[in-house]
C-alpha cells in the first residue's frame, strides 16, 4: 500500500540574482512500512525535498499524497497532518531547551489534545523503549548527542505517525552513537512497521537499507 507519493516536485530558490534549481520535477513513492534512504551530494537538495514532503515548505509545482489523499503545506490542516500523521527527526536534534526529555516528547501529544497526564505517561513509555528511563527528567543540555537524538525519535513517534522523516539523524554523532540510533530506527521499522524516509550522508548506513535513492540534478534515482 502506498503511504506517501510525490509527483513532479519542483523547487527553485532565488539567491540574490541567480536561480538555483534544486528539484526539477522528481517523483517518489514510499510504501507503508518501508524504510527509504536518500543520499546525495551536499547541497543537492535532500533537506529541501524532505521539508516539502513533510509540509514544512511548499514546492513550486507538483503534488503530494498521503494514503491517496492530496495534502498541501498551505492548507489549513497542514499543522494537523504534521502533528497526527508525521514525525520529524533532524540532524541538530531540535529539542526545546527549557523542557526536560519527558516534556519534549509529550508536546506533540498535548498538541493533539491528549491530557497532560496521559501525554506524560505515554512519553515515559516511549522513552523506556529507547532505554532512557533514567533520563526523563533531564534537560537537553544534560544529555549526550545520542541521547538527544533518541529523545527526538521518541517525540516523532508519540502520536503513532503514518510516516517519519529523518534528516541526517546520525550526522552529528560519533560512530558508536550513530550505530545505536540506526539500530533503533531499524527496529522500529521491522518490529513495529513504522514507515521512514531518511536522508543520510553515511553510505555505510545507507547500504544496509533495502531501498535507496540518490538525488542527482534535482531528480531521485533508485540505487538498488
Amino acid at each position: 500500500m502506498i503511504c506517501l507519493a510525490g509527483h513532479q516536485l519542483a523547487k527553485n530558490f532565488l539567491d540574490s540574482d541567480q536561480v538555483i534549481h534544486v528539484l526539477s520535477g522528481t517523483d517518489i513513492i514510499v510504501n507503508q512500512s518501508e524504510l527509504v534512504c536518500i543520499t546525495g551530494q551536499s547541497g543537492c537538495g535532500k533537506s529541501t525535498l524532505l521539508h516539502i514532503l513533510g509540509l514544512l515548505d511548499a514546492p513550486d509545482s507538483g503534488t503530494i499524497e498521503l494514503f491517496g489523499k492530496e495534502i498541501n503545506s498551505n492548507s489549513p490542516d497542514a499543522a494537523h497532518i504534521r502533528n497526527r500523521d508525521m514525525g520529524f527527526v533532524f540532524q541538530f536534534h531540535y529539542l526545546i531547551e527549557d523542557l526536560n526529555a519527558q516534556e519534549n516528547v509529550a508536546i506533540p501529544a498535548m498538541i493533539a489534545g491528549e491530557s497532560r497526564q496521559k501525554s506524560m505517561n505515554r512519553a515515559t513509555e516511549i522513552l523506556h523503549l529507547f532505554d532512557m528511563d533514567h533520563r526523563i527528567g533531564h534537560y537537553p543540555n544534560q544529555l549526550s548527542g545520542g541521547e538527544q537524538q533518541r529523545v527526538s525519535l521518541a517525540r516523532a513517534l508519540i502520536n503513532n505517525p503514518k510516516i517519519v522523516f529523518a534528516d541526517e539523524p546520525t550526522g552529528n554523532l560519533d560512530p558508536q552513537h550513530s550505530l545505536e540510533v540506526w539500530q533503533n530506527i531499524q527496529k522500529l521499522n521491522q518490529d513495529f512497521g513504522y514507515t521512514f524516509v531518511i536522508v543520510t550522508h553515511d553510505s555505510e548506513l545507507a547500504n544496509s537499507s533495502p531501498i535507496r535513492y540518490e538525488l542527482k540534478n534535482g531528480i531521485l534515482v533508485r540505487n538498488n
Binding site: 504534521r82 502533528n83 520529524f88 533532524f90 531540535y94 526545546i96 498535548m110 498538541i111 489534545g113 497532560r116
Partner: protein, 406 residues
C-alpha cells in the same frame, strides 16, 4: 478565554518555576522600566491623594461647615444667638453651633504690622482647644491665643505681649482714622496645620473682643459644625435651615466658597495621572523591543512547536502569557515601589511644601485602593497592548528559514 492543553501546560510551568522561565536577561530592562514608571505614577498619585485628603480634612476641621448671619444687620444679639444655638443643636446632623465674633484686625510688634483674623468665642467654648499646642486653651479676658506661624514670624512665645489694632471707620478724626489699639498677653499658641489659619488667627473671648471692637452683647455669626458624613451634603441642610429660620437669617455653607478649590485639585490629580501615564507608555516601548528580541531568541522553539503541529495562535498565546505574567508582576512591584517612594518623600526633610502656596506645609500620603486599581488597569492595558505588537511577527515566521539559519 479557554486555554488549550499545551497553553495550560506552559502557563503552569511558568508559574511553578518563574526563576527559570521569566527572570531572563532579556526581560530585566523591560521589568525595570515598568517598575520605575509605575512606581513614579503610583508615588505621585499617593502624594497627591494625601495632599487632597489632608487639605480637605484640615479645612473641614478648622472652618465652619455652615454659618448663620443676620440678614438685616451686621450682628446678632447674644441672647438671640443663644436661642438659635439651642434650636440648631437639636438637628441630628449638627455637632456644634457656636456663636462667634469675627473681624479683620492688625497685629503689631516692634514696628512690623500684619493683617490678622480675630475670632472671639464664649469664655467656656472649647471647640478650638485641641489645636492649642502650647500655653493654655482656656480663654481669659485680655489674653489671646495666636496662630503658630504668626508667633513664629513675630518671634513670640507664651506670656509675651502683642498689640492688636482695630481701625474704626466710625471714629474718623481730624488726624485721620483713629484706631483702637490694645496690648494683650499671649496665653496660647494655635496650630491647626492649615497654613492660612495658623498665619493669621487671633483668638479671644467675647469680652476682650467687645472692648477692642467696641461692641457689646452681640456676635457676628453662628458657626455650625456637622457630623463628618454630612459635610458633603451641605445644600440639603442649608435649605432646611433657611426655611426653618426664615428671612431674618442668611445661611451659607463651606462648599460655596471652597468647592472650586477641590474641583481644581481633583483636576490636577488626574492631570498628574495622565502625565505620569506617559512614563508607562515609554516603558511600553521598552516592552516592544524586549518582546521582539525574545521572539528571535525563541525562534527555534517556535519552529519546533510549529513543526510538530502547534498553530501560530497557540504559540502566540504561550509567549503572550509568559511575558504578560512578567509584565503584570512588574506593575505590582511598581505599585509597591510607589508606596515606598511616597513614604520616603514624606520622611525626607530636604523638600517641604510652601505653606502660603499649598495651604499646608507637610507632605502626607494616602494609598487609595481605587487609585491603585486604576493604576493597575491603565498600566496593564498599556503593557499588554505593547506585548501584542511584536507578537504579530510570529505569524509570518517561516519554519524553514529558522532551521536554515541554525
Amino acid at each position: 478565554m479557554r486555554f488549550t492543553i499545551l497553553e495550560k501546560f506552559y502557563i503552569s510551568k511558568y508559574l511553578r518555576d518563574p526563576r527559570r522561565y521569566l527572570l531572563r536577561f532579556n526581560y530585566v530592562f523591560m521589568i525595570l522600566g515598568i517598575v520605575i514608571s509605575v512606581g513614579i505614577l503610583s508615588a505621585g498619585l499617593n502624594l497627591f491623594e494625601g495632599y487632597q485628603r489632608t487639605l480637605k480634612s484640615l479645612l473641614l476641621d478648622s472652618i465652619a461647615h455652615v454659618s448663620i448671619f443676620s440678614s438685616n444687620s451686621e450682628y446678632i444679639p447674644i441672647s438671640e444667638a443663644n436661642r438659635l444655638k439651642t434650636v440648631l443643636q437639636a438637628h441630628k446632623e449638627v455637632t456644634a453651633a457656636v456663636p462667634v465674633i469675627t473681624s479683620s484686625v492688625m497685629a503689631q510688634k516692634a514696628g512690623a504690622v500684619r493683617g490678622c483674623f480675630l475670632k472671639a468665642y464664649d469664655k467656656n467654648e472649647s471647640t478650638f482647644s485641641k489645636y492649642v499646642v502650647s500655653g493654655s486653651p482656656k480663654l481669659e479676658t485680655d489674653n489671646i491665643i495666636i496662630g503658630y506661624h504668626l508667633a513664629k514670624e513675630f518671634n513670640l512665645v507664651v506670656n509675651d505681649t502683642l498689640s492688636i489694632i482695630f481701625p474704626q471707620m466710625n471714629r474718623i478724626t481730624a488726624l485721620g482714622l483713629y484706631p483702637s489699639e490694645r496690648q494683650y498677653s499671649i496665653s496660647g499658641i494655635y496650630k491647626s496645620g492649615y497654613y492660612e489659619y495658623d498665619r493669621s488667627i487671633v483668638i479671644c473671648d467675647f469680652e476682650t473682643a467687645g472692648n477692642l471692637l467696641l461692641t457689646e452683647d452681640r456676635v457676628s455669626k453662628i458657626e455650625i459644625s456637622l457630623l463628618p458624613q454630612f459635610t458633603n451634603q451641605t445644600e440639603k441642610i442649608q435649605s432646611t435651615l433657611e426655611s426653618e429660620l426664615g428671612d431674618d437669617y442668611i445661611v451659607t455653607a463651606w462648599t460655596e466658597n471652597n468647592a472650586g478649590l477641590f474641583r481644581l485639585i481633583t483636576l490636577e490629580k488626574w492631570l498628574i495621572f495622565i502625565v505620569f501615564s506617559f512614563l508607562v507608555l515609554i516603558a511600553g516601548l521598552n516592552v516592544v523591543s524586549a518582546v521582539s528580541t525574545s521572539i528571535v531568541d525563541m525562534s527555534s522553539e517556535i519552529a519546533i512547536l510549529r513543526t510538530v503541529g502547534a498553530g501560530t495562535v497557540t504559540i502566540t498565546r504561550i509567549i503572550y502569557s509568559r511575558i504578560a505574567v512578567i509584565g503584570l508582576f512588574a506593575v505590582l512591584i511598581g505599585q509597591i515601589l510607589g508606596a515606598g517612594l511616597s513614604y520616603l518623600a514624606i520622611k525626607q526633610s530636604i523638600y517641604t511644601l510652601k505653606g502660603d502656596v499649598y495651604f499646608i506645609d507637610k507632605l502626607t500620603i494616602f494609598i487609595s485602593p481605587t487609585n491603585q486599581i486604576v493604576i493597575f488597569f491603565v498600566a496593564a492595558v498599556i503593557i499588554l497592548l505593547c506585548i501584542r505588537i511584536p507578537l504579530r511577527n510570529i505569524r509570518n515566521m517561516q519554519i524553514i528559514d529558522v532551521f536554515r539559519r541554525n
